[in-house]
């Protein structure tokens, strides 16, 4: 039983790190894109513009967040 619990914990940690890790915003963005795709599916011409746009916005926001964190570590952290 203990082995199963430990195996489940390892599995959970793996998937958590893999999907969420230190970029939870990308996981949320992917879920949002799925929801938006379901909502706009009857209007494919809207989806064709909106879905890539959402992905680009998510990438830009997450990259900006990463760069900001990196700069603040670089200037304030121990050298």
């Amino acid at each position: 039983m203990r082995h199963i619990a430990s195996w489940l914990r390892v599995l959970w940690n793996f998937w958590w790190d893999f999907l969420v890790g230190d970029t939870p915003e990308l996981f949320v963005a992917a879920m949002l894109i799925v929801v938006v795709a379901i909502i706009v599916r009857p209007h494919s011409s809207v989806a064709v513009i909106l879905l890539p746009l959402l992905a680009i916005l998510a990438l830009a926001a997450s990259t900006y967040r990463g760069a900001k964190a990196s700069r603040s570590r670089g200037s304030g952290g121990p050298k």
């Binding site: 890790g21 799925v34 795709a37 064709v48 890539p52 992905a55």
Partner: protein
Amino acid sequence: MTPSSPSTTLILVLAVFGASAVEMVEALTIVVAAGVSRGWRSALEGAAAAIAVLAVIVLVVGVPLIRYVPINALRVVVGALLLVLGLSWLRKAILRASGHKALHDEDAIFAETSAELGSAGGAGPSGRDAAAFAVAFKGVFLEGTEVVLIVISLGASQHRLGIAALAAGAALVVVTVVGAVVAKQLSNVPENSIKLGVGVMLTSFGLFWVGEGTGVRWPGGDVFIVALVALFAVVTYAGVRVMKSHPGPYAAPIAPVLPGEGVVS
């Protein structure tokens, strides 16, 4: 519609090959470190055992996915998974290319693994080295897990598990041959550039499958993947340019200008 155009297949092969090559470079670094510091037999056995386990996972998980899960549901789940993975690879690669994140250093991994193994006990009475086996197995298995996910995701969503597995196998052979020839010069592999390219392809496939699985009609059908690849390539290029204009703490230092050099009077 089931994508079957040559361009889609080519992108699938390139994405799996690139992703596998990137992950295998790191795995190979660990195996080489284990082989050099503890002996090749146990290191190679550990690597081979990990590859066998990963191949079994592809068969056990991938084949039932294709046979029993409704294709549209599979595409939405796989698309979302690829989207998270692709965007995360792109983010990391853009941050590395612009000096906001340290580049992956294979030399450091090699030195670290060698030092770690140097302090372990000697080989057992059978001549097998448990430490080298374990380190090689762990390195190949952990790096390979991401490859397995990509192979299963891309292969299952296009009903091309065989082609995806072959592309990953080809990457394994190429990286192993290159690794055997150049040995410790794996740090020369342009890992971040490959990661950028693969990130673009995974993101494009992810978005395409999410749309396809939910019922969005992409213009031109599966050929639209090529348009998405082009779009994300341009966005990534622009992202790197913009981020480079505000270089981060890991940006390569600008070479000092020597007296009389580069000055036009």
